[in-house]
């Protein structure tokens, strides 16, 4: 399927660089070259940041487990104290991440419907499939947390950090001016981190002999690895299509 409404990149009057202002740019460069090269090692600001990082508060805590039943007994036995808090923290992170992942795919689907795709690019069915898989993962983690007696509606510290990390990605996805390939590149950031997050959960579950959990996490990891590979492939096809077009001249550097 060829793109019919691709968003091509064109050469134009971009004003952001010094070369865009021949007179003022040169004057600015002269002013800058008049100043001697500064010493930028061991800045006071860096020392202050280090000091505050050492004494700073934590972002917050992991909510305590109130009721334990079923799966919980075994898991709680294997995961005591600090390790348990860390495990719940990471589960909370995956839950929030997968839930947000559904919305990320919905945003990509908006681009797909509005702008179309390219040869070797994403299809509607595959995007929907991956969106549903994010939803299924959210559901799975929610169930596991409930079985552990943890609160799946709470925001854990790692979930909080992940949301801050992803905030730029969502800005790219929601911007009606970005192309499908730009959105997919942003999505790849999420998928990359997502797969890594599942890998970590597999390790924790396996090292504490939570075989059943480890197996479920491995399945999710395999799915997320596939998501990542597909997004990469779609993007490489987009790059290939661009390269083929640029062979015709410099007018259009990218069509997507």
């Amino acid at each position: 399927m060829e793109a019919t409404r691709s968003r091509g990149q064109t050469m134009g009057h971009n004003r952001t660089g010094i070369m865009a202002s021949p007179m003022d740019g040169r004057a600015l460069e002269r002013t800058a070259s008049d100043a001697p090269p500064p010493h930028t090692e061991s800045l006071v600001a860096t020392q202050m940041r280090e000091q505050l990082a050492r004494q700073g508060d934590r972002l917050g805590s992991v909510p305590t487990i109130t009721t334990a039943r079923g799966l919980a007994e075994m898991a709680l036995h294997a995961l005591q104290g600090h390790r348990l808090a860390s495990f719940i923290d990471k589960l909370g992170e995956r839950l929030a991440f997968e839930r947000s992942g559904v919305r990320a795919y919905e945003a990509v689907l908006v681009k797909f419907e509005a702008l179309g795709t390219w040869q070797g690019g994403p299809t509607r069915d595959l995007l929907r499939e991956q969106c549903n898989e994010e939803l299924a993962h959210f559901h799975m983690i929610k169930q596991i947390m409930e079985q552990l007696g943890a609160d799946p509606t709470a925001m854990t510290p790692s979930a909080d950090v992940a949301a801050v990390q992803a905030s730029g990605v969502f800005k790219v996805l929601a911007d009606p001016r970005t192309s499908l390939s730009q959105a997919l590149r942003a999505l790849l950031v999420l998928e990359d981190v997502d797969a890594d997050g599942w890998d970590m959960l597999v390790e924790v579950a396996a090292s504490t002999r939570q075989d059943q959990l480890a197996s479920r996490f491995r399945d999710a990891l395999a799915t997320e690895e596939m998501h990542k590979e597909r997004v990469r492939e779609w993007l490489s096809h987009a790059a290939l299509a661009d390269a083929q077009r640029t062979g015709d001249g410099w007018q259009q550097a990218s069509m997507h």
């Binding site: 508060d57 839930r99 559904v102 549903n132 509606t153 801050v164 992803a166 929601a174």
Partner: protein, 393 residues
């Protein structure tokens, strides 16, 4: 515990100083601090902003007050900085927006419950149901744009339900003006209430105008523009409740008393000892400002501050959930509208032709607030919890 305005002297202005490090305290914890700590920070930032704005205007009109205004205003500015820097930077602009609406709901509900004047209390209940709807719309945005649960910010104190629909809240400016309190007859608490909400809503309006254009999503940009328009109406409404015949110095006294009253309320409820100490320090500073302005009032106007201020202000802002009160108001008054200075059921006013025409024009190309929350029902853990159940079925 009542605040003794005349008795408490606070810290004299000349001893009110800050270092830059004091102005940038460590923030509250988004996860572990109480949601009402965020509510208090947001409100007090708005109140300091309002005090500063008033003092700039007062200086423009009163040459003999320029010097004391400049001195007090510098401290107000630094207090505002110290307070606003308590916000947690892992709160997104949308998280903080939810906090602003929680302020508008819970603080307005507290004021509506304590307000001794029936008409003014009615105005507060009217505004309350509009901000209540804004919270619902922003919660839908958080859920549908980024998969986030607004209740992580609200901490279960405040319901996420539709109120008076935002798209219906647009009114002709004539219908946003209210009767003002009578400076000679009104209870001091009524004056403090009106100023509190005037300043709080003004800052909400500022905040939405500042962060609205930073969104990339067109629906989010539209929603902020739409709700900012309603907040402008609210600023008009609450501002019009203050008696315009008060003198500049009379108003300055009331601003300082309002600041002190609000810091006192914050202090009484704050559970975080580090932040409580900040409220206490600000209260002492405001009492110092009040002393100075009382002196100016005596010297310049040759009037006794007791004409304006009571010995003590009794009821505090309740930093608690007002769920039951709000549900009752929602049940009885959601269909109310305003015509001129009056508020009441739509049928009483023939549905206000002037505002209907204004609203129809504004909504002619569609309403962002309707779009963002189309068929939205909040669920613990976001509406995606329902989608899971539907898929399972």
């Amino acid at each position: 515990m009542a605040l003794k305005l005349m008795e408490e002297k606070g810290v004299p202005l000349e001893r009110q100083r800050f270092t830059m490090r004091e102005l940038t305290p460590a923030p509250m914890s988004k996860l572990d601090d109480d949601a009402f700590t965020r509510v208090r920070i947001i409100l007090m930032n708005g109140i300091e902003m309002g005090a500063s704005r008033f003092q700039h205007l007062a200086a423009a009109f009163n040459e003999d007050l320029r010097e004391p205004l400049a001195r007090v205003r510098r401290v107000e500015h630094h207090q505002q900085t110290m307070v606003n820097w308590l916000l947690s930077p892992d709160d997104s602009p949308l998280d903080i927006t939810l906090g602003y609406e929680q302020v508008a709901i819970e603080v307005t509900a507290s004021i509506a419950e304590h307000e001794p004047d029936d008409y003014l209390a009615q105005v507060y209940r009217f505004g309350l149901l509009e901000d209540f709807d804004h919270l619902y719309r922003y919660s839908a945005l958080a859920d549908r744009l980024e998969g986030k649960d607004a209740n992580n910010i609200l901490q279960s104190y405040t319901d996420i339900l539709p109120g008076r629909p935002t798209s219906f809240e647009h009114r002709d400016p004539h219908d946003d003006l209210r009767d003002h309190y009578d400076r000679k007859a009104a209870a001091p608490l009524s004056k403090v209430h009106a100023l509190t909400l005037f300043m709080g809503e003004y800052q909400t309006h500022n905040y939405y105008l500042t962060i609205g254009p930073m969104y990339t999503d067109p629906i989010a940009r539209g929603l902020y523009a739409e709700i900012a328009s309603i907040e402008e109406q609210h600023v008009t409404q609450y501002g019009s409740m203050c008696d315009p015949d008060e003198t500049w110095l009379e108003k300055w006294l009331l601003y300082e008393a309002t600041e002190a009253y609000n810091y006192h309320s914050c202090m009484q409820y704050e559970g975080n000892p580090r932040i409580r100490a900040i409220w206490e320090r600000c209260l002492d500073y405001e009492l110092g400002h009040l002393q100075l302005v009382m002196g100016l009032f005596k010297d310049i106007e040759r009037r006794d501050p007791a004409e304006v201020l009571p010995e003590e202000l009794p009821d505090m802002i309740d930093y608690t959930s007002h769920r039951e009160f709000i549900r009752k108001v929602l049940d009885k008054e959601v269909d109310y509208t305003a015509e001129g200075h009056r508020i009441g059921p739509r049928e009483q006013f023939n549905d206000g032709a002037r505002s209907a025409e204004y609203r129809d024009h504004l909504n002619k190309d569609g309403s962002f607030s309707d779009m963002v929350a189309e068929n939205y029902v909040w669920r613990p853990g976001t509406e995606l919890v329902d989608r899971i159940s539907r898929q399972a079925a």
